[in-house]
């Protein structure tokens, strides 16, 4: 057999190298292009207000002790101190109203007061209530992080809020189709009642019914579906007051795609549902909904479901935010947005309204 010259060897390897290049390169480029296309296709409305970035918590110059590792959720007390639940550090970090680091408390473990993967924190009358998912319990701390009490629960709860009497309204990961969307638990862990009919899906009924919960000033329950731009309002007895759909811009497209996923999925579960809402809160007599793709957007609706304001900021392609807080004055306000990707920190934005 004749020996191949080095030239022929080089030439013959080109298709292989091209193939490799073609395999590796387009992945990032495609998603980047797709994101850029979305930004153009779904621009913010003309009357939408661009957010002004002010600061971040912690700042790069701050001491290392104040940095987050896997923070997922934030809460504020009556004095506007900010608390950050870090589910990877299994700790809660406390900052003052201007973002100065004060302390961190809790540690990984199973003993009372210790934490094993924290998903959500809520303030209620000076007490911090934490959903310690790894230990399947709720734990109560004072403002200084001293453990007060805790009780076990028998479901994993995605989100919760607390009413004026201290009852916990929690959204469970449902294990059967017939389970309701919200469970009401008293401060000793006793199940009081359940409310909310799930959206009717045949296959992916579990994931597509994930929801965020918040209570308004009258203890009505606001339930925002994560994968659909749908918000429901229930009274304390569990009667549905309204269901509103907010199919605006890219969220409308995402909603359609999620419905389509459910339809065409031949497996028992869809692969993934597009996240339409990253967080929703009640404040200043309205429902505020945040989504972080393709850009950071916070929309304000009145309780009747009418769109009142859109605030936005272009961020990077890999940007993701999981929670936000709102501090509002007469003419201006501030958002504290917890960014989880590409960095993990709180971003402070100013806006006028």
């Amino acid at each position: 057999m004749a020996r191949q010259s080095p030239f022929i060897k080089t030439i013959s390897s080109i298709p292989f190298l091209l193939f490799l290049f073609w395999q590796v390169k387009p992945v990032d480029e495609d998603s980047l292009k797709a994101w850029q296309t979305l930004l153009k296709k779904y621009p913010p409305p003309k009357d939408a207000k661009e957010l002004v970035f002010v600061d971040s918590i912690p700042k790069d110059s701050d001491q290392e002790e104040s940095f987050f590792w896997g923070a997922k959720t934030i809460a504020a007390d009556e004095n506007d101190n900010i608390y950050v639940a870090d589910s990877k550090a299994h700790q809660i970090l406390k900052f003052d109203r201007v973002g100065k680091f004060i302390k961190r408390f809790g540690r990984q473990g199973r003993a009372p007061g210790e934490i094993e993967n924290i998903w959500k924190i809520v303030f209620y009358q000076g007490t911090l209530i934490a959903n310690d998912v790894g230990n399947m319990r709720f734990q109560y701390y004072d403002r200084e992080g001293n453990f007060i009490k805790g009780f076990k629960v028998f479901k994993t709860y995605l989100d919760f809020d607390v009413d004026s009497e201290g009852l916990i309204y929690a959204v469970p990961i449902r294990s059967t189709k017939s389970e309701r969307l919200v469970e009401v638990i008293d401060s000793e862990g006793k199940l009081i009642h359940e409310l909310g009919n799930p959206l009717d899906f045949q296959r992916d009924w579990q994931q597509l019914n994930h929801a965020i919960i918040s209570l308004d000033e009258e203890d009505n329950i606001l339930l925002a579906f994560v994968h659909f731009p749908i918000v429901r309002k229930y009274d304390r007895q569990g009667r549905l007051i309204y269901e509103r759909k907010y199919p605006i811009g890219f969220q409308k497209k995402q909603m359609e795609m999620n419905y389509q996923f459910e339809k065409i999925s031949r497996n028992s579960r869809a692969l993934v549902g597009y996240i339409v809402m990253n967080d929703a809160i009640k404040a200043a007599k309205g429902v505020w909904i945040m989504n972080s793709y393709p850009r950071l957007e916070i929309k304000k609706f009145d309780y009747e479901g009418n769109l009142q304001d859109i605030f936005w900021k272009n961020r990077t392609q890999d940007y993701h935010a999981s929670a936000f807080l709102l501090k509002i004055g007469d003419k201006s306000g501030e958002f504290f947005v917890l960014q989880t990707s590409p960095e993990n920190k709180i971003e402070k934005y100013k806006f006028n309204h």
């Binding site: 199973r110 399947m136 009780f151 028998f154 994993t156 990961i173 294990s175 862990g189």
Partner: protein, 324 residues
């Protein structure tokens, strides 16, 4: 002070009422254990005549009584041969002369010791043909069963049973004693009935309804409803649960059999499991124990044997009802 006197006035008569039950339960247990020791030591003598007895010392023993011309038994021995359990356990098969020759010829004797099936006047209860017995190194039977079970399932159970000896052995005893105190006040109607029942208890450190625990609890509730005549079912919660949590747990799952929180000594052994082996062994363990406290079968998360465990429990129900 008054409270103490009143408590004592109630507690002393109750203790008197319950005492006969406890003592008969413990007496039977001791009697059964003596039988198992006798068999173990007789076997050990027999063993000594064939191999160096020091090879047996300090090692647990797996002993199977083979029936002639029984397909289940033959499969069982072949599977044992092919997938021998753990090197820390001595394996032996007691069989007829004829079968001994057959298996020696097949080379099986390279991995297990074959013995003549003649043990004199031993209680037949402890040498049922077609059954296996697993002894700890002191001669206590810690698990037994018949050849219908698959060896791979048995292997998983054995590994847990082996880990329980000690401190596991005392662990089960502690749970049974604690358990008895929960059963007696609720089941005044038939102490004898209780004594002869098979005990199933599940240990939970965390309980999540949509997880494996939820399945186990659902299964136990169903079993209690359908086979309450065969089993005494209970749940042991770790000290992670307060008494309020226990009440909420019972309410939430609507449980009608006893649920109790591990006392300090159980908790200590439970934690020792975790430290010695893994986190897996602190949640979702289910033990099935006969009336003498011997482990019949078990389930734990790492074994991946939930279906096999359920099949074995079903077989037990059938066997118990058949035998009246």
């Amino acid at each position: 002070m008054n409270f103490l006197i009143i408590t004592a006035m109630i507690a002393i008569p109750v203790a008197h009422i319950l005492r006969p039950h406890f003592s008969s339960f413990l007496e039977k247990k001791i009697r059964d254990e003596q039988h198992s020791y006798t068999l173990f030591y007789k076997f050990k003598d027999c063993w000594g005549s064939i191999v160096d007895p020091t090879r047996l010392m300090g090692r647990p023993l797996f002993l199977f009584f083979l029936r002639t011309n029984n397909k289940d038994d033959e499969r069982f021995v072949t599977e044992l041969y092919e997938a021998w359990l753990t090197k820390d356990i001595s394996l032996a098969v007691a069989t007829s002369d004829c079968d001994r020759y057959k298996y020696s010829f097949n080379g099986i004797s390279n991995r297990m010791y074959l013995f003549d099936h003649r043990f004199g006047d031993l209680d037949e209860k402890y040498i049922q043909p077609g059954h296996y017995y697993f002894y700890d190194d002191t001669g206590k039977i810690i698990i037994y069963g018949d050849s219908k079970v698959s060896v791979s399932f048995l292997e998983k159970n054995l590994s847990l049973a082996y880990k329980m000896s000690p401190p596991g052995r005392t662990f089960i005893d502690q749970i049974l004693e604690n358990n008895a105190s929960f059963y007696c006040p609720d089941h005044q109607q038939g102490k004898d009935n209780i004594r002869n029942k098979i005990r199933i208890f599940a240990l939970f450190d965390n309980v999540c309804q949509s997880c494996l625990e939820g399945n186990i609890i659902g299964y136990l509730k169903d079993l209690d409803r359908k086979a309450g005549d065969v089993f005494l079912i209970s749940i042991v919660l770790s000290q992670q649960f307060s008494s309020k949590d226990r009440h909420n747990f019972i309410d939430h799952f609507d449980i009608s059999f006893p649920v109790f929180i591990a006392n300090d000594s159980i908790n200590e052994n439970w934690t020792a499991f975790k430290e010695k082996y893994s986190e897996l062994l602190i949640n979702n363990i289910v033990f099935c124990v006969d009336s003498a406290g011997r482990l019949i079968t078990s389930f734990f998360p790492g074994c991946g044997c939930w279906e096999e465990f359920r099949k074995e429990i079903s077989a037990l129900v059938f066997e118990q009802r058949k035998n009246g």
